[in-house]
Symmetry: C2
Subunit: 649 residues, 2 copies
């Protein structure tokens, strides 16, 4: 490696630029914004960043030669690429480095990062209106030589007289503009007061409108809901990808990046702050308001996201005993973290429950209020990290389990995120074993609409695939392929391993068959088994044998087929009538906390009261987990699925 | 005026640089740091910025010509310069502009800015130790899988258990470093807590030492007192010139600069913040501590200084009804105003009483506590703006009067600030009318020590001059020169106006006689008359005829001769035994508020309780003022000065 820089060109986009000698192709793609897919963040474990070297010379990794323009680690490449692909110069971008020469890289269709479909609409909920920030308009007696008291004291006594507000303090930036604003308003001003305690804005004259922003920072997507603080109405919803994705798709890879890379924390924090400021700008523009008109903001996110947003290094979340910096909610000035809403506005970050049950889960808690119910609820938030809440007004437990990224399309041969071209739903005919599927971006199913060719399968499609293959008898309850089934779709691949064709090459945009293989089924079993075991262990601890309702929280929960989820055994038996999705409940929780300040205290209270169960510390976990790997379970009965399960269990 | 720049050279320093066409020589001097004297800040009213144009061509102001390299306003120059000086190309730097050519400027000795002698030592006072910020050392139970509560909650419960501290919040920057600090200290940390309420610092292990900084920002000088918060001891005292002096010597010129110049407020605020940060750096270096070890700070200053420090435009203080932005004390985060002490430290700015009675006066109040005394006190703080407090535990009044800058050496023919070369004390023999004087920088009086030649007279010298000329019969009680007195020192000048020679040319460094003229005496009369009238009106309002004690507050008060002050009639009659100086009581007030948090509430309480009298609104002011112009007064009796006043009154 030298200090020199070399030109790298990405095809077919034609993007080009200079990168340092020794840079990985993945980092080069990030630097130039080439939109290269990567789920593991460059660790060589997801295999999603396949590229083809078009021009350049190879060298084995570690062997430096001025004649070679790239070096690569073929032992890692071999795990994800066939011999033929290797011969055609396909490699993983994260395992391949620029080495003493210019290169041209081709990014195949399947490795191109699609614009993920952001599915985080606000759910219609009735929310009591009691915002933390309220506006008060007051007319002041003009200063005169007989009465030349300071402007702040004049304002104080005006507010006390008219609204009985006492003991108010004023935030520093508001003090700076107080005198001019009062005089511009001809001694009439509108003040914004936070929690009846602190003046956080002053405007000339009478101003009625007031805005707040609720933000749900997901690992992958970020959603912002601009609300009218007078009506509670959502005025603008705007979503974007979390820009931190460039540094790792899942929280563990971001924790690693922050803990180990020099300046890693700063990069991750800068990315989300800059991204949020763009979101704020877009939202304000859509609403036709100034950014400084936003006088309150709430934020939810998982514990890692919470730390990164606050610029706290999440390093201790990544290793036992997984201690967060703080559990309590945090009220921080927007200016202190660089968010460009009103200078004096507070940002309320909801509390977290434990190292892996974050403020997003607390958002779900205050949105669904299990602590006010008699029925026994199981709330499931499905993601790379699964989060579970079990209980009712008597007792409440939470736990989290590492489902792995299978539900988000990683570690699945043809898995991908929910972007255009992803198979999101599918059906397998029990008799003919023929497949029908629906692709994101098309309005109709595959037989009728071929506008966008399939590129892979996203999470909801993977749920369907496993459930349908199971009910069609293609796999058994242990997840093994039944090779006796007669279908051209069921076959052995080059390595003599079974696979089932979901989409034929001609139905795709990537020119080869999209299949589900044995390894994919195992990944799904591990993921769903972890969720099931979590619920099972909590039920046992609570002495509960029956769940009254299952609530699927999270945007993802709205898109999966609840019967598919029940059939694969994502959760213990429950009447399908009482299984339902509630949409982005975490985001709704942020909105609820924005509009009703009393819910913030409720969140702090319940975040502490809920009993967190560390599943991996349960001695019986392995035994419970092993049985939960079966479809839907090795022993448990599912009376609610009578007629749906293949052998009518 | 063009967009071009021209070279300007200052002699004898040799400083040179490029300045914009059209810049005044005074601004050019500021820009290059040439150290040119100016008291009025460039308004052409003090006449202190005399310079000689060595090379360059003249043009009348307003006439542009490419042949001319400077333009000047001779009608203003003529007020301060003799015809001969004008012929020798002397001009006022503030009235002369670069105009289309390079120039060489000679700065005569008398116009060179001396390093003012800063006289703001902390006074020995007994202060109860009860600081706002206290340190607590606590050992925490290390986190484990069984007990993985957040670090902040762990710290909270540790502090609650050991010190019964409850309901603590943590400031954002402290939260950022909490986890690493706890682990670096092997689960033992020392936290700094502000007002038993907010954690403002965390340090690894046990740390006992804690530091606070009390700052007195004067119009001219700034003093900082670094205190040990455990002992109350002053560890380092450091003073500097207020860098705002470059934009105007008195508060009115700075208000004008902030109100009218584009970016004026920013320049004035930047100047003091940058200056204070240098002061903090110097102090920390002297004490051998880090700047971030300073965890609390208090500030006093007059109302204009208070506003400029907080970056509030003082424009409304400059016009009726003179409303300040805020009277209350202000607690502002150091980081919000850019002061580089501990990030989370608060800066407590003491309250102000009225538009012209500032936080410095409140500092005097809590230092002297007239509200706890039975005796009738008159507290005088002498400066460009005189401040008066009258009263005792029964009732308290304050007022302020514009004395003008005479006491600081401005508007006095040979007046100058208290810098090396200033005559600070003088005696006139009642018989021979011979003068003895003492120059700052010399150890002995003029007859014995001539190391440093006299350059002018500073405030304390002016007091002596007026008192001694009066007692020696050179001027009468009306301030008129008595030309019958036989002395070579008493003479008529070129304009047939009387003047008295204090120092002969040969005794000076400026090569001409230093004199007191009729105009000088008038300026002193106006200044002292304003103070006397203020006291008189307050006494009348309070129904008081006799003052028990006169307290001279302010550094200046420590250097004037109290008999001279009594003789010229700075205040009504009082037994000299009970007239005394208390040094920089404003600075002491800052120190008291730093070390005893209860005194901050006392300050807020008394700043509101003291009755502010707007003297200019008193209908009898003019009548009272006219009588107070006499030495010591037209009618009042001075039994305490028997044997000292010329006619034994």
């Amino acid at each position: 490696m030298s200090n020199r820089k070399y030109t790298i060109v990405f095809q077919p986009s034609g993007l080009r630029g200079k990168v340092a000698d020794g840079a990985t192709i993945l980092n080069a793609a990030r630097q130039l914004g080439a939109g290269l897919e990567s789920i593991c963040g460059g660790k060589g474990t997801c295999g999603k960043c396949k590229i083809r070297i078009e021009e350049g010379y190879f060298a084995k990794y570690g062997i430096s030669s001025s004649m070679k323009s790239v070096v690569t680690r073929d032992e890692v490449n071999a795990k994800f690429l066939t011999k033929q692909q290797l011969k055609q110069n396909y490699r993983l971008a994260c395992q391949t480095r620029v080495n003493g020469g210019d290169v041209v890289i081709f990014v195949p269709e399947e490795s191109r990062k699609g614009q993920q479909v952001v599915r985080k609409e606000a759910t219609a909920r009735k929310i009591k209106l009691n915002p933390a920030v309220r506006k008060y308009c007051v007319e002041l007696k003009p200063a005169s030589l007989d009465d030349s008291v300071g402007d702040f004291e004049r304002l104080q006594s005006g507010l006390k007289k008219k609204f009985k507000l006492d003991g108010l303090v004023i935030d520093y930036p508001v003090l700076l503009k107080l005198q001019n604003t009062i005089r511009r308003g001809l001694w009439q001003v509108t003040v914004s007061i936070w929690k009846n305690r602190e003046i956080v804005d002053v405007e000339a004259g009478e101003v009625k409108s007031g805005y707040g922003l609720a933000v749900d920072i997901g690992t992958t997507t970020v959603a912002g809901y601009l609300c009218d603080l007078n009506t509670g109405e959502v005025i603008v919803t705007e979503a974007m990808m979390n820009p931190q994705v460039a540094y790792g798709e899942d929280v563990m890879s971001r924790i690693g990046y922050a803990a180990k890379e020099k300046g890693g924390l700063k990069k991750l924090n800068d990315a989300i702050i800059k991204g949020l400021n763009q979101l704020v700008k877009d939202i304000a523009k859509k609403a036709g308001i100034k950014r400084s008109d936003i006088i309150d903001m709430t934020v939810v996110g998982n514990t890692c996201i919470h730390h990164l947003f606050l610029n706290i290094n999440p390093q201790y979340l990544g290793k036992a005993p997984f201690s967060p910096a703080i559990h309590h909610s945090v009220d921080v000035k927007a200016r202190d973290i660089g968010i460009t809403i009103a200078d004096s506005a507070y940002i309320h970050v909801l509390p977290i429950e434990a190292g892996f049950v974050g403020a997003d889960n607390v958002g779900v808690l205050i949105a669904e209020e299990p602590y006010n119910q008699d029925e026994m609820l199981l709330i499931i938030d499905i993601g790379t990290n699964g989060e579970l809440i079990l209980g009712n007004r008597k007792r409440l437990m939470s736990s989290s389990c590492a489902t792995g990224p299978a539900f988000e399309g990683a570690e699945i041969r043809h898995g991908m995120r929910a972007a255009a071209g992803a198979i999101e739903k599918l059906k397998i005919d029990r008799k003919t074993k023929e497949v029908q599927f629906k692709v994101i971006g098309n309005e109709k199913w595959n037989t009728e609409d071929k506008k966008i060719g399939a590129r892979g399968i996203c999470g909801s499609g993977i749920f369907d695939a496993a459930a349908q293959m199971f009910t069609a008898g293609i796999i058994d309850k242990g997840g093994r392929f039944n090779m006796k089934v007669k279908s051209p779709r069921l076959r052995l691949n080059g390595n003599r391993e079974p696979e089932f064709v979901i989409a034929w090459a001609k139905e795709t945009a990537i020119n080869h068959d999209i299949v589900i293989c044995q390894k994919d089924i195992r990944a799904i079993q591990l993921a769903k088994g972890a969720m099931y075991s979590g619920a099972k262990i909590m039920m046992k601890r609570m002495g509960v044998t029956k769940i009254d309702r299952v609530i699927l929280a999270g945007a993802f929960g709205s898109y999966i087929d609840k019967t598919s989820a029940a059939v694969i055994g994502l959760f213990p038996d429950c009447d399908p009538k009482f299984v339902y999705a509630v949409g982005n409940a975490a985001g709704d929780g942020a909105r609820i906390a924005l509009l009703n300040v009393a819910k913030r205290d409720e969140a702090d209270l319940w975040a502490r009261r809920v009993e967190y169960i560390e599943l991996t510390l349960e001695p019986e976990f392995n035994r419970v987990f092993t049985k939960a790997l079966n479809f839907p379970h090795a022993e448990d009965k599912f009376p609610s699925l009578k007629g749906i399960l293949p052998d009518d269990r």
